[in-house]
Symmetry: C2
Subunit: 355 residues, 2 copies
């Protein structure tokens, strides 16, 4: 039974909506899903016709390669409600490009824009009521791809499933974030998959993060695995340091994710006349700046939290507290970025795309 299908996408509508059962004021991030999901299978060398259908569990073989060899990638995006019930995406082409870079690195097939972008717009149009008005309200978007081919031999799958699921979210507030600088554990290898949004990169962080949390820290600032001297990422976010009035962030590399929020903040900061220096910051520099008072701010940047200010960090057993800054650059940039995303400020960059 296919209703309202386009030429490119089959659509099977849910018989009833769950939307009235959802308390939109009390959402736990990433745990509530909308009525529909997009599913598109890859087999015999080709992407099949996508289908949008009711969100539900699906059947999979115990020997599916995603379970054994971890062929799985994803993106994180958001939809925003504008005036007149309009729905907006933020730089979706950047997510498509990065998704396909991840696909190549994980030996998975690339997903064409006609499936990724058009599929996204079609399902968002159907789920328009799930995107709530008001700053901080978003519909979090999770496009992902998994290897569903069966067989316990360590070779790339020949069958894949691309899906888009959607989860309504309030603004992501993580409380006061104290971080610990990684002295032993690492996130990524040179020549590894750190630049890919591959599933395995995330679970690899859970144990070190648990150890950090047991010591009273919410996150880890990752350093390069070879020397632990270069500051690279904060948890699952890119990281920025403000020393005096210059913002520093590491260049993207094989070890560092090319974050859409990161690159948007760089452009915004430059437009605002803020000095931005894209280079690796050394742990030693950070300690020196903390000691002489020139270190003003540290913040993470990512889709979920947008900007996540850090109040202090620990390194080699010493805790360094950051000054409390009125009108911080972190909060200025977050404000400017979110206003663009919600169509409350002029989008001079052309970043926003209407569904």
């Amino acid at each position: 039974m296919s209703l309202n299908s386009t030429n490119e996408i089959d659509i099977v509508k849910a018989i009833s909506s769950k939307i009235n059962d959802v308390d939109f004021e009390n959402l736990s991030f990433g745990s509530t899903f909308t009525d529909h999901m997009l599913v598109c299978d890859f087999k015999e060398g080709h992407w099949q016709k996508p289908i949008i259908k009711p969100y539900e569990p699906f059947m999979i073989d115990p020997s599916a390669k995603v379970f054994h060899y971890g062929q799985a990638i994803f993106e994180g995006m958001k939809a925003y409600k504008g005036e007149n019930n309009s729905v907006w995406l933020f730089r979706p082409e950047e997510n498509l490009i990065r998704f396909n870079k991840s696909a190549v690195r994980m030996a998975m097939p690339e997903v064409p824009g006609s499936i990724f972008i058009d599929g996204l717009k079609t399902i968002l149009d159907i789920e328009r009521d799930w995107v709530k008005k008001g700053l901080g309200n978003t519909l979090y978007i999770r496009p992902f791809m998994i290897a569903v081919g069966s067989g316990v031999i360590a070779q790339p799958s020949t069958q894949y499933r691309f899906m888009i699921i959607l989860s309504p979210a309030k603004s992501y507030y993580s409380g006061e974030v104290k971080v610990i600088i990684a002295e032993h554990y690492s996130r990524a290898a040179n020549g590894g998959i750190g630049a890919a949004k591959a599933a395995g990169n995330y679970s690899a962080q859970f144990y070190p993060q648990k150890l950090a949390q047991e010591k009273g820290f919410q996150q880890i600032i990752w350093t390069d695995d070879a020397t632990h001297t270069k500051l690279e990422e904060a948890g699952t976010m890119n990281v920025f340091f403000r020393i005096n009035d210059t913002l520093y962030t590491a260049p993207t590399s094989e070890r560092i994710l090319d974050g859409v929020t990161r690159k948007s903040l760089i452009d915004l900061a430059k437009r605002e006349g803020i000095n931005v220096d894209v280079r690796s910051v050394l742990v030693d520099e950070l300690i020196a700046a903390a000691k002489d008072g020139s270190l003003k701010e540290i913040f993470g940047a990512g889709t979920a939290a947008v900007v996540s200010p850090i109040v202090g960090f620990q390194y080699q057993g010493t805790y360094y507290e950051l000054p409390k800054i009125e009108n911080s650059i972190a909060m200025q940039l977050k404000d400017k970025l979110t206003k663009i995303q919600y169509k409350l400020a002029e989008d001079t960059f052309g970043w926003t795309v209407e569904v």
Copy 2:
């Protein structure tokens, strides 16, 4: 409907067996599965009662954490047929120990031996007819655990599924193996998850391996990611080098898997009076040994292939062919190890365990 259940394990037998449909002379590795699987769920902080039931696909939520954050680990083991229809395992406690080390590193719950080992023995007893007699015939065993809890937030799951699936196999012959020494890509980071049998470690290798295959090489010898000067693993196997009459293999580390075949070969070699030196071999040493003729053998060691001799390697564009050795140490050790596994030689180490 539960039949023949023990106190500890529920058993639901398949109505009929697929065994007569299987061509045991023409098995593709890891693609045929037996009639039953073991399933054991972890929820609310506890392992539930395991069940052995017909092998079949299962339902899972699209937001299951295994798909998004890659919390997934596994082991590879084999069962062997002895005299009088007896079935034998090889050092299963080693796999249990390593599985639980992987679990800790990936922030997953450890699986008790009463589930892992007793479950394995119970399902193998049921699938006894799938273990065929004759050197080279095995039943490949794949215990694995995946995060089945739902939610697209990068945190460890609270729900997991442990499973054992079984696949009949002929001896694994990969043809002539030429390898390329990694000069750019890497398998593992310092402080990373290379020592864990985590799913994400395997898919990370697929793309570099594809590039190697396009150049005519079947495998990659991985080097350390920081300097690419130390030889670490061969594809998904540990690697041994014979220079003159000494065997060298890298010590296990955070980057190198503690292989059961590796450690068994070391013990066997020592018993046979072969010099074994467990230390990192440098690429430069290997090149020098290849040039002066002291490099006699290179071979991979792992459960699937046991021993996989390498005929030559490429480094910085130059191909080095290994001498053809009669009565190679690789083949001597493989012969001795498999005879112990099949109960055709005395097991002075106490490695074999009857089901």
